[in-house]
């Protein structure tokens, strides 16, 4: 069983700041972390491997310092990791990203055939969720998104049983392997890393690939050049006028608010239960 998990280094968007003058992201203002959904993807691979045995490879694309998220993945339980890093990949949108990653997966697959690819549902800096299905299409394997449970992995039949989240409820899907899963957070809880993993992670040197390490690459499909979408403009939405701010002491304001709420009879009424 060979599972590849695609992971991304992201700025912690909870604390990131926007430069109000230039409307651009101040990346220095936020620490870089392993995308939280990807941590669950690695964890799920570890859970599967416990039953099936095999190898977990993590793959990431990013600047050289993104080796940190590969080390973090090793800590969770991955066996090895590859970082794709090259200026040629810079500025990629989801289409160009899935192209570059699929080329790296091609090489990984030649070395050790892949049974399962797992990605997080989306990265918290882009929130698109488009790269996972994109990779699956390029590898011509079924994409299964919004996965909340890997119910069964049947290595003999080469099939998986998956619970996939829907708008109201879920569906049970059987898929041939290899296939690609994108996972929701609720799929598992991140476990505490055992000490040997931490030691291994601290010492681990990720495999680094540049564009020259990939075969049959059409460079026009990489990075900014290979990206059909561009950011036209950034703006803060027009501030609505805003409503009325109540005034007075706290208890006065609370009383005013109660009056307002009670006035909206069509919205909010007091009905007798008797």
């Amino acid at each position: 069983m060979h599972i590849v998990v695609c992971v991304k280094q992201v700025p912690d968007t909870k604390i990131i700041k926007i430069n109000p003058k230039t409307n651009t992201l101040d990346r220095r203002s936020a620490p870089a972390i392993l995308n939280p959904y990807d941590a669950h993807a690695v964890q799920e691979a570890v859970k599967i491997k416990r039953k099936t045995g095999g190898t977990i490879t993590v793959l990431s694309m990013g600047p050289p310092q993104a080796t940190a998220v590969i080390k973090k993945s090793i800590e969770i339980g991955a066996d090895r990791g590859v970082l794709l890093t090259d200026r040629a990949f810079a500025g990629a949108d989801t289409l160009a990203t899935s192209y570059a990653l699929s080329k790296a997966l091609e090489r990984i697959n030649m070395d050790l055939p892949i049974d399962l690819v797992i990605c997080g549902k989306h990265a918290i800096d882009g929130d698109t969720g488009q790269v996972g299905p994109g990779i699956a299409r390029r590898m011509d394997i079924p994409p299964i998104t919004s996965v909340i449970e890997v119910t069964e992995v049947n290595q003999e039949e080469k099939t998986v049983l998956i619970k996939r989240k829907l708008t109201s409820g879920y569906e049970l899907i059987q898929s041939e392997m290899p296939c690609l899963l994108t996972v929701e957070k609720e799929i598992n809880d991140i476990e505490y890393s055992p000490m040997p993993n931490m030691i291994k992670a601290a010492r681990y040197e990720p495999i680094i690939w540049s564009v020259n390490d990939l075969e049959n690459v059409d460079r026009t499909q990489l990075g900014l050049k290979g990206s059909p979408t561009i950011v036209g403009k950034m703006f803060t939405p027009p501030r609505p006028e805003g409503g009325k701010k109540l005034e007075g002491s706290v208890s006065e304001q609370v009383s005013q608010l109660m009056e307002i709420l009670m006035e909206k009879k069509d919205l909010f009424t007091l009905t007798s239960s008797r």
Binding site: D127, Q130, P133, A136, L172, V254, S272
Partner: protein
């Protein structure tokens, strides 16, 4: 690629069990505006098994044309079968714009189709417009965790595609007198060639929070300070029979499960009354609640952007204000001997 070969605005009509999803009607409303602005027809496209009859409803909500692929293999949504249909339609009829609801299936389908068509796709759009002269779709969405909007363009590839958040656009009132054209297409699909099978669909209503349908929501933000103070949010909600929601920060901190997150990556809600307590009002949150009828904001910071969207605001300490509100509602209840409820 000759961009001028591509004309028309298309909307994916998502149906489950023969019922069209609400977001598809909303997109027909938004698509109608774009089509009128660009002076092209608006089309819906519909895939499924035994779903032809839904074409009329699609026309009633604003479509000029409906493309239908009806096939037993399309009974349940599957990426591999649906994408085949959509790619066939897009390559045959060459629309310039395709919109999908940002539902699990809509996002899944759009991502696969965009890859095969090598075109641009903007995710979770909350504003749509068109540059008529350049014939460009201007799809805007909150970016970078949500404090700023970005307009995404796809200049040199067609169709231009976007997924759009449910409950953000407005559906038109249906007009069943409207006439339109229904175009049936056939594609070859074989069940034995499918690599995935849907074994079972479970409608788990208990797991889905009632946020989407709630009349009153009390939403707490990280301004509540800690988990203990956050109990005030639950208490107020319980007193007035409201549902509890939280911001991304609150969910990240583990004070509420993800199902109760309101905003760009959570639920979009449109209740009659929305209490935002200790909520700063980041754009990614506001896009998920700004269409609420009455918004009441309580926040210490008078400059918090939540006050811009609030109908009424109280500047002050939630720890002081919320207990008083709870007390007032409780005394009202004892006084009148009834239950607080909403129409």
């Amino acid at each position: 690629m000759n961009l001028d070969d591509y004309r028309g605005v298309w909307v994916f009509i998502e149906q489950n069990d023969g019922k069209i999803e609400g977001v598809s009607f909303e997109l027909l409303g938004a698509g109608r505006k774009l089509a009128d602005k660009l002076d092209v027809p608006l089309a819906g496209f519909l895939l499924g098994d035994g779903i032809k009859s839904l074409a009329n409803q699609t026309i009633a909500y604003g479509a000029d044309q409906v493309y239908v692929i009806d096939h037993p293999v399309l009974k349940h949504y599957r990426t591999e079968s649906y994408m085949k249909g959509v790619i066939y339609l897009a390559q045959t009829y060459k629309p310039e714009i395709i919109l999908y609801g940002a539902t699990p299936n809509g996002k899944d389908l759009a991502s696969a189709v965009a890859t095969d068509l090598s075109t641009g796709l903007t995710a979770d759009t909350t504003m749509l417009d068109a540059d008529v002269e350049k014939r460009l779709l201007e799809a805007s969405r909150p970016a970078f965790g949500g404090n700023i909007m970005a307009t995404i363009l796809c200049k040199k590839h067609r169709p231009q595609m976007a997924t759009v958040r449910p409950k953000v656009m407005k559906a038109l009132a249906p007009d069943y007198e409207r006439s339109g054209q229904v175009i049936e297409e056939k594609i070859s699909l074989k069940e034995e060639e499918m690599r995935t099978k849907v074994l079972q669909i479970v409608n788990d209503v208990t797991k889905k929070t009632n946020l989407a349908d709630a009349h009153v929501i009390v939403c707490g933000g990280k301004g509540m300070g800690d988990l203990q103070n956050f109990q005030l949010i639950h208490e107020l909600a319980e007193t007035i029979g409201a549902s509890v929601g939280g911001t991304r920060d609150v969910v990240e901190a583990g004070w509420l499960p993800h199902e109760q997150q309101i905003g760009q990556t959570g639920e979009t809600v449109t209740p009659k009354i929305y209490f935002a307590i200790g909520v700063s009002g980041a754009i990614q949150h506001v896009v998920g609640m700004k269409n609420s009828e009455l918004i009441i904001a309580i926040n210490k910071d008078p400059n918090a952007p939540i006050f811009d969207v609030a109908t009424y605001g109280i500047v002050g300490d939630a720890m002081e204000i919320v207990p008083q509100l709870i007390a007032q509602f409780k005394s009202l209840r004892t006084e009148k001997g009834g239950e607080v409820s909403y129409a």
